[in-house]
Symmetry: C2
Subunit: 132 residues, 2 copies
């Protein structure tokens, strides 16, 4: 159950997703994030100074949740582990920015910050449609 079902494929190109990471106390921490569906994978560009990135370095267990904002009874939750890779030259960040009207992700970063590519490696894909 790690494939994205056809019925929810549109959500993979939505504008926003909710990322769940685990804090030091083991409590889930949710934040709203930009993301990119690329080569069949769900990926994020995260600033290494952010708490969610530190959480993922400590504990890769995570979940990326995409809600159909037109119908909140329909959503997909991609559960698994995060793989982190450096994006020192912001190549990947630029591809994310392209999805968001050419946004420059550096605008959100301090000069000394760096970014990582976060790829969700699913162990379970949970797709729901309860009508509505």
């Amino acid at each position: 159950m790690t494939d994205f079902p056809e019925s929810h494929r549109d959500l993979l190109d939505a504008q926003f997703a909710t990322l769940a990471t685990l804090g030091r106390d083991g409590i889930p921490q949710l934040t709203e994030v930009w993301f990119l569906h690329e080569n069949g994978e769900l990926k994020l560009s995260l600033n290494t100074s952010r708490m969610k990135t530190k959480n993922l370095r400590r504990r890769p267990e995570c979940s990326l949740f995409v809600l159909d904002v037109e119908n909140p009874y329909r959503y997909i939750d991609v559960r698994g582990r995060a793989r982190l890779e450096p994006d020192d030259d912001y190549q990947f960040a630029r591809r994310v920015g392209a999805k968001y009207g050419g946004a420059d992700l550096r605008d959100h970063d301090a000069p000394s910050d760096s970014r990582v590519i976060v790829t969700i490696e699913p162990t379970n894909v949970f797709a729901v449609n309860m009508g509505g």
Copy 2:
């Protein structure tokens, strides 16, 4: 930081929230839920047969996230632990149903099912407004 900030109070009366629980494998599991803001607390009515309820019984660490669907750059994440209490007579379930146009939560349950009142006991309230 366990108070609900005035700037995000409206979200406590939103229609939907995202509940994060932890699976047996320690991976966060997110589902969209109805909820009720009552006496200054955030509460859910959950069917005991559901995975999320089993998760909370095993590990109470959880998070309830409410997104401003009009502006996804604004949200509140209530992080903490869940307190579970029986709701065998569906008294609390009825109060939740009243928020949702008088919905009868029994319609979602099998005759042998039971419900619990889930109250989020916050250890941290994370309120974000990045404009948008």
